[in-house]
């Protein structure tokens, strides 16, 4: 196992093709958190994120030979599959009509988050900024004012990201939250580096605007206390 740990992604993929389950398991453990987080940030829904993560690795099992190391990293390849699955889901979902809209207070979105991002009903993130199923959140009552302020900030930023158009959101998630370089993000999203740079620039400007808009509300409510 220690030997396998030292292997690169490409080495693990080769061993996986040869039928090595340990290599596949290691590859999954190494790569799935980033894919899960990407899917969660893009969908705002833990169930969708789980499904997408599962689909991504099932696709890797089925079509491992589609991965060509000369064309990009395994991470980029997996993000690409995740992105395609998310888009398929959104396409399917656009054909559905919601019977009860219990998310009327959620911010306006590009139509994708609206379906999945029910942040108050427990399908997505808790108000403290953590995902529901992972159990690493704290009750707000036990927090200091600074911690609460941080969590509030996290929640607002998370919400602001969720309302970005899809092509801006994915760049923010990859470059800012997953800390990919422009080149890595370009490989994952199959577009030029210049496009990544300009989208990120625009996305950040939008986020600043959204967060600036949210500030007076908080200040006003603080004044009213």
């Amino acid at each position: 196992m220690a030997e396998a740990m030292e292997l690169t992604d490409d080495g693990l993929v080769r061993r996986m093709i040869a039928g090595d389950e340990e290599a596949f398991s290691l590859l999954y453990r190494r790569r799935h958190p980033a894919i899960y987080r990407f899917a969660l940030h893009m969908s705002g829904n833990t169930a969708v994120a789980e499904d997408v993560t599962q689909e991504v690795f099932m696709a890797l099992v089925r079509d491992t030979k589609r991965f060509d190391p000369s064309r990009g990293t395994l991470g980029g390849f997996l993000y690409g599959i995740a992105r395609n699955h998310l888009r398929k889901r959104w396409e399917q979902d656009r054909r559905l009509v919601a019977l009860i809209d219990d998310d009327v207070d959620s911010p306006p979105s590009n139509g994708n988050v609206h379906h999945y991002g029910n942040r108050t009903s427990g399908n997505g993130f808790h108000a403290n900024g953590n995902a529901q199923d992972n159990g690493n959140g704290h009750h707000p009552a036990s927090l200091s004012r600074d911690e609460f302020a941080s969590l509030e900030t996290i929640s607002r930023v998370r919400q602001a990201i969720a309302t970005l158009p899809e092509n801006y959101r994915e760049v923010v998630v990859l470059c800012e939250l997953e800390e990919l370089s422009y080149e890595e993000a370009a490989s994952a999203l199959d577009c030029p580096v210049g496009t990544i740079r300009s989208r990120l620039h625009r996305a950040r400007a939008l986020l600043v605007e959204k967060l600036r808009e949210a500030q007076p509300v908080r200040r006003a409510s603080a004044v009213g206390e």
Binding site: E21, Y28, N134, L151, S181, Y182
Partner: protein, 225 residues
């Protein structure tokens, strides 16, 4: 640096490998002199800080164990399916290899049989002697090949008086002899060449017991030819 240039790079002042980091010092100098750009830089830094908080908050997020169990199960199933699918191919490959080996074997055997059935030059000579009318030119050519005697030419074999039935002969030999013209004439051989010397070389077929069976004339080719 002017405000437009500052706005262009303000979001990547801390991003490794970008243009913004390269001109960071110039940007800071500009921000000290421009209130608007200083405000933009503060907002960009706040946004970076928020991303860091969010990233730290989500760093431990991962899919629940059931997803790993599902993909590992899919991997095992795929492995079994692949090995099942490969069995017919392996059988087909083995069958093809066996067919090729069989064909090669038959070909070799086919090539080897004429050597044994046609027999040695002795057998050829005896059969020629039995059928003296049969294409003396071609027989001579075949004998040429068998004996690799490119520098000479021969007549067809002529059966000698008292020779045994060629079909009943086994063993024996062909010997090169030099006979006088008169001796050859007495055997009924057509020695009519005016340029021929008194002593003429000939190939004599002997049976196993040494009895002469057939004879042919041999003549050296002229070197000028």
């Amino acid at each position: 640096m002017d405000c437009a240039q500052f706005e262009e790079i303000v979001h990547e002042l801390d991003r490794p490998g970008t243009q913004g980091l390269a001109v960071r010092d110039a940007a800071l100098i500009h921000a000290e002199a421009c209130d608007r750009c200083a405000q933009l830089m503060t907002e960009a830094e706040s946004l970076d800080f928020s991303f860091q908080l969010l990233g730290t908050c989500d760093i431990d997020l991962e899919a629940p164990p059931r997803v790993e169990a599902a993909v590992l199960q899919a991997f095992r199933r795929h492995k079994i399916d692949s090995s099942r699918k490969s069995i017919p191919w392996r059988l087909a490959a083995l069958g093809a290899a066996a067919a090729v080996l069989l064909a090669v074997g038959l070909l070799l055997r086919h090539d080897a049989n004429p050597i044994h059935s046609a027999g040695s030059p002795l057998q050829t000579a005896l059969s020629q002697a039995a059928f003296p009318a049969a294409a003396p030119g071609s027989s001579a050519a075949e004998t040429d090949q068998n004996q690799n005697e490119d520098s000479e030419y021969e007549t067809a074999y002529v059966s000698l008086p008292g020779a045994s039935d060629p079909a009943t002969l086994e063993g024996g030999a062909i010997v090169r002899v030099v006979l006088s013209r008169s001796a050859l004439l007495s055997l009924g051989l057509p020695v009519t060449d005016a340029g021929a010397g008194d002593r003429i070389p000939a190939d004599l077929v002997l049976s196993e017991d040494g009895a002469p069976q057939a004879i042919r004339l041999v003549s050296q080719r002229n070197n000028n030819e």
